[in-house]
């Protein structure tokens, strides 16, 4: 168990025709001992490459990776004392579960056969796969293979775990179960972990902290709620949260934001934050939008809108709302309301954008100018 530090880590791939592609650009993260860091981003953002550099499966172009204070840039994978769980599990198909799990111990330690089989039996019991140890991977279900792959990593008792989308091959139900189980395991073992995923739900629910990558550049590192409530920029705001935050491009006119379809007044704190910016992006999360079925807009932050589509999810309804009435393909934004609210497509409703829930981003640099105020800090702290 140890802390893992990435300092200005960069990976440049050179194509055959000499083109250079920067896959990972100056990524710096300090991962504390025993921390669960989730590396999240869309496909092709460089998160897997980062993980593979830590594992030693890719060379590091620039920067430094150190584990427990020891620089490991040039160490071969075997000497890094790191275990990795792959998306495809990468089990050895010709070996039994027990052989799969003992392979690493046989190759990397001086343990005797008895000691190895004892370790394997303990880990198998911990993972609940003790009945499967004599089977081959082909005879196991996806969830069982997943457990074996985890067990193979755990049995080595490494300094750090690397997990490359380990749950993405499982069905939705099993994925939710394994998510909880993985969290519990990691807490129990206290091993520093980097977990790569493209699924923001996994990122939000599992990580002590999340690191959000886009196009090889680190966008933000923080606790899930920090990233959710105080995103650094437009990308993070849009990536974290499901359904995504609504964005409206607006012009700044003094204390007023002027958009194509509506105007929105700024509070003094907000206009101070906007400062010199001429164009901003107004962001608001769907669950912050308040919907009134009756009445009409009688304050500047209330708007008359029409319901375009209702997506019932049981616990809540996702409403697609629009300012454009009677248009074939209207521009919509989303709001979530309780699943018990009876709303139909075509209904006219009043949507309120509460001033405290507004995010403002510079339209050019996409940096956050103002994030929603968290006037209910005790609520967030309880959750954390």
């Amino acid at each position: 168990m140890a802390e893992l530090t990435l300092d200005g880590v960069t990976k440049v791939f050179t194509e055959d025709d000499g083109n250079e592609i920067v896959a990972v650009d100056e990524v710096s993260v300090d991962i504390e001992d025993g921390e669960f860091l989730v590396l999240v981003g869309p496909s092709g953002c460089g998160k897997s490459t980062t993980l593979r550099m830590v594992a030693g499966l890719e060379t590091v172009t620039r920067g430094e990776i150190s584990l427990a204070g020891r620089r490991i840039n040039d160490s071969p994978p075997a000497e890094r004392d790191i275990a990795m769980v792959f998306q495809s599990y990468a089990l050895y198909p010709h070996m039994t579960v027990a052989q799969n799990m003992s392979f690493g111990l046989e190759e990397s330690t001086e343990m005797g056969d008895d000691e190895i089989s004892e370790h394997v039996a303990d880990t198998a019991a911990m993972m609940g796969i003790e009945d499967l140890v004599d089977r081959k991977p082909a005879d196991l279900s996806g969830g069982q293979q997943q457990r074996v792959a985890l067990g193979r990593a755990i049995v080595r008792d490494p300094e750090a775990f690397l997990m490359d989308e380990p749950l993405s091959n499982l069905d939705a139900k099993l994925r939710a179960t394994m998510r909880t189980e993985l969290q519990r395991l990691q807490e129990e073992l206290g091993v520093t972990t980097i977990y790569v995923t493209h699924d923001q739900t996994e990122a939000m629910t599992m990580g002590d902290r999340i690191a959000i990558l886009d196009d090889g550049v680190l966008q933000q590192v923080g606790t899930p709620l920090e990233c959710y409530h105080t995103p650094n920029n437009l990308f993070v705001a849009g990536f974290i949260g499901d359904p995504s935050m609504n964005f409206f491009e607006m012009d700044v006119d003094g204390d007023l934001l002027v958009g194509d379809r509506f105007e929105y007044p700024l509070t003094s704190a907000q206009s101070e934050a906007v400062d010199e910016a001429r164009r901003v992006t107004l962001g608001i999360r769907p669950e912050d939008i308040e919907i009134e079925a009756d009445g009409s807009a009688d304050s500047p932050s209330e708007f008359d809108v029409a319901v375009d589509v209702v997506e019932p999810r049981g616990d809540e309804n996702t409403l697609h709302l629009t300012f454009d009435r009677g248009v074939d393909e209207p521009v919509t934004f989303t709001a979530t309301v309780s699943g018990l609210r009876q709303l139909q497509a075509g209904d006219s409703v009043v949507a309120t954008f509460p001033p405290e829930a507004i995010h403002l981003f510079d339209a050019d640099t996409e940096a956050a100018l103002h994030n929603r105020s968290l006037d209910v800090p005790e609520a967030t702290e309880q959750i954390v």
Binding site: L57, A78, A83, M84, F86, Y92, F103, E107, K136, R152
Partner: protein, 322 residues
């Protein structure tokens, strides 16, 4: 007029529809057509050579019961065994080790050229593949000179002739084993490489992280998992890759099958006088009915699973193998 197998209203014959009858008729006809050459070969081999002329080669020797069919005799087999016995033994001594070596070395080379990545491997691989296209006729004379003049194998081997079962001329077999191993290598590498490309990279990476060296990965992972690997990989990660039909022995024997007859016919083998003049067994049966069974293709023991590949690698197969 409906029947068990036919559709309602179809004409039928003995309870089967006309379509079925015609289908089986054609299939039987084609079966006979394809099997006649081998049947002819077998019948000819048990007819007394004296009564052979004028008889129908595909009829069994039923004289004197049926005139014009020849008399039964095992004399041709006797002659073949007398003349070829030593050659058959030599073939086994040659083919078995050469097959094992070229398979083993080919799989190692393919591992090094596929699973491990290093600079310049494509260039080396192209050199390997180019080896497949070297015509054997072009190198026969230099090769002979190589074994006689450059490498003193004969002198090195001579002292071993005192061992039991070892004859002095066996040095030529050793030379042939080495030659065949070398010539079987390119095609083996090619076939093994195709197979290794299907193995999951993540599995090899997992082994690397587990602390296994390159040699260990080859010995404990790559060599051990052949067809089973690609099957289970396909079930977990990539559904597109199916099972592979390639295992070690067919691939190398297909290489042997191609190279054997050619080099064989010029080497100083005792069975030389009776080997195929046609050069290449796949076409033999068309030209001379009697020579195919004495050519070394019969010794290379073709197996059922290799025919799909021999078609690719040699450009033709015995029709009865298909």
């Amino acid at each position: 007029m409906s029947t068990e197998t036919g559709r309602v209203g179809e004409w039928s014959l003995f309870g089967h529809s006309l379509r079925r009858v015609v289908l089986y008729g054609i299939l039987a006809g084609m079966g006979v057509f394809y099997l006649i050459p081998i049947e002819t070969g077998i019948m000819t081999s048990i007819i007394n050579p004296a009564s052979y002329t004028g008889s129908f080669p595909y009829l069994p020797p039923l004289e004197p019961l049926v005139p014009g069919t020849g008399t039964f005799s095992l004399e041709p087999w006797q002659g073949a065994i007398d003349g070829l016995g030593q050659g058959l033994v030599n073939s086994v001594i040659l083919v078995v080790p050469a097959t094992i070596f070229s398979g083993l070395l080919g799989s190692m080379a393919a591992f090094g050229l596929t699973t491990i990545s290093w600079r310049g491997q494509i260039g080396i691989y192209i050199l390997f593949v180019a080896g497949i296209f070297i015509p054997y006729q072009a190198v026969l004379v230099p090769l002979t000179q190589f074994w006689y003049n450059v490498v003193p194998l004969q002198a090195v081997f001579e002292p071993l002739a005192v061992l039991p079962f070892v004859q002095e001329y066996h040095w030529k077999l050793v030379a042939l084993i080495i030659t065949h191993t070398a010539y079987g290598l390119p095609i083996c590498t090619l076939l093994f490489r195709a197979h290794y490309k299907k193995l999951s990279d993540e599995m090899v990476e997992a082994a690397q992280l587990d602390g296994a060296s390159v040699a260990t990965i080859y010995r404990r992972i790559i060599l051990r998992c052949r067809s089973r690997c690609s099957r289970s990989c396909s079930s977990t990660s990539s559904p597109r890759s199916g099972t592979t039909c390639c295992s070690r022995s067919p691939s190398s024997s297909s290489a042997m099958q191609r190279s054997s007859p050619r080099i064989w016919s010029v080497s100083a083998s005792p069975s030389r006088g009776r080997t195929s003049r046609c050069g290449w067994p796949p076409h033999c049966w068309l030209r001379c009915r009697r020579c195919w069974c004495t050519s070394s293709s019969a010794i290379s023991s073709p197996r059922g699973s290799l025919h799909s590949m021999t078609t690719d690698s040699t450009g033709g197969t015995h029709p009865w193998q298909n």
